[in-house]
Amino acid sequence: MGTVAVQGLRKSFGKVQALDGVTLDVPDGSFFVVLGPSGAGKTTTLRAIAGLEKLDAGSVHLDGKDATGDTPAARDLAMVFQSYALYPRLTAYENIASPLRARHRSSSEIAAAVEKMSNLLHIERLLQRRPAQMSGGEMQRVALARALVRQPRAFLMDEPLTNLDLKLRVEMRTELTRIHRSLGGTFIYVTNDQVEALSMADQVAVIKEGQVQQVGTPTEVYERPANKWVAGFVGSPSISLLACHAEGDRLVGADGWTLPRPRWTTAEDGRPLLLGLRAEDLSVERRGDASLSGELYGLEPLGDRTLVDVQIGSEIVKVKARPTVTGTPGERLQVTVDLDRAHLFDAGTGLALSEAGR
């Protein structure tokens, strides 16, 4: 068992409201990612679950039992810290053994568990070293091993890959997914990297300024963002948002462009809307019924693809194109829109319009 449920968490540091009513339901055995920009309250949420942060309000339930007042030790959780927090005077072996020693396990049991973990994470040769004698990536693996050596209710991970270089980060991403599959258990993983979130998670909770914006599978969060902020935060390059309103069977842009009104739109005429278009749902190479005309603003070659910046009225729209695309800034071009994959948000509230028809 390993369900974690938090309800209405509130916490302020001085004048800063770090958590403003966070409610999350983490199912047993899931890889649950909390995603948000820095300062959104992700780490505070995790620390609240761990019992390291005193809450102003709210409750934490572990396996259905209220654990709000419990000490960190009593909660039976394991955590990987962003800074790894390996004990500097202990060897890797002793660091990994620490959670078992705290629980008075026998030395033979400890030796077996540490060996199993060092095999799983390929750190056998590091066991007698101290943290100061390890690289960042090695410390990261030891920190993981220390968390994984027990079978706690849940594993909490606070941006564990942030301090690694890009190549190691990609490698560890795969590794963590593999570990989750082989060990099972509930993982709660905090990150500000949407690629990590989308690639590893069963469930993603997007959080901003201490409030949960959306909870769903990576696909749901990407394909059906609950509001314009989630749409803008998840996905790279960022979604392009164009001001418009509906008029009969057309969408009319603030800059004068028109597009056929998507079949699924329910908005009444004249209501201010935002049309959200992702770079991959736009094209400067294909032709279609729905298109916008604009001027080439610039090209961003990224190797496997090129981003074409197109100025439409006063807005810049990013379009994904093949790496072979060419053009000179200022030249007129047509941007074809895949309206079935476009998003509409209320310009006032920022909420996504009901998409019952999709």
Binding site: R47, P72, A73, A78, F81, Y84, A85, Y87, P99, M139
Partner: protein, 303 residues
Amino acid sequence: MAVSVDEAVSPGPVRDRRPPRRRSGGRGRVVIEVAVLAVLAAVMLFPVLWMIETSIKENRDVYAIPAKFFDFTVTLDHFKDVFVDSGGGPTTLSGSFLNSVIVAGVSTVLATVLGVPAAWAYSRFSVKAKKDQLFFILSTRFMPPVVVVIPIFLMYRQVGLFDTKLGLILIYTAFNVPFTIWMMKGFVDEVPAEYEDAAMLDGYTRLQAFWKFTLPLLLPGIAATAVFALIFSWNEFVFAIFLTSSDAVRTAPPAIAGLIGGTTVDWGLVAAASIVFALPVLVFSYLVRKHLVAGVTLGAVRR
């Protein structure tokens, strides 16, 4: 990145044992530098040198005019006189040294035992009006002892602490706790709180986490702080002379001062007693010199 406190607080130059590279200017400049430094050192250290000489001269050489720098008879009689009286028993001066050891030692231990946990608490927990509390604690050190000694003398007489070792121990502890809190708070701040967080998730209580994981990292800081406290208590003169009256309680500083003032002054004995008095501080400072520098320059070094 995780770093040990040793690394965290030791500024580079302390560890760097290579000789510094000569600056430009050539040999002439070096000679002048050495000469100036030698003269300065001689001037500064002359009283110490003279004290050492006096302590090992026979009495007739001590009072010889003109003063003898080199050709005197060496004797250790004065050192013997510090501890053993003419009848063969221990001197009152040796009792004063013992009093100093007890008073300075106990007050340092007390200040450390009380101050280190307080510093940890101020560093780790959110306390109401923390800055004001810390300022209040510091403010108790603003006044020099001589300002408060009369009221304390009167209070001590009332409660029966006058002319007791306990009285001196308490007043020295009271003076050293604020210092310990302030100095140790700097050291605790340097140790990431996440070690304790990690230990608590491992299954330890908060106090166990402090005891097992933070305290060992604080030991260099505790050593440095304790030496400072020890030096204060050991050297303290004003409280010691006002709050004691009997030889059984008196500590070394007023006892040595008391040697001067009769019709004749046994300078050889004064010098020998002073050297015996200065030695422990020198030895302790030497033992923890690396951490003293680290403690003093804490925060001054960019990492």
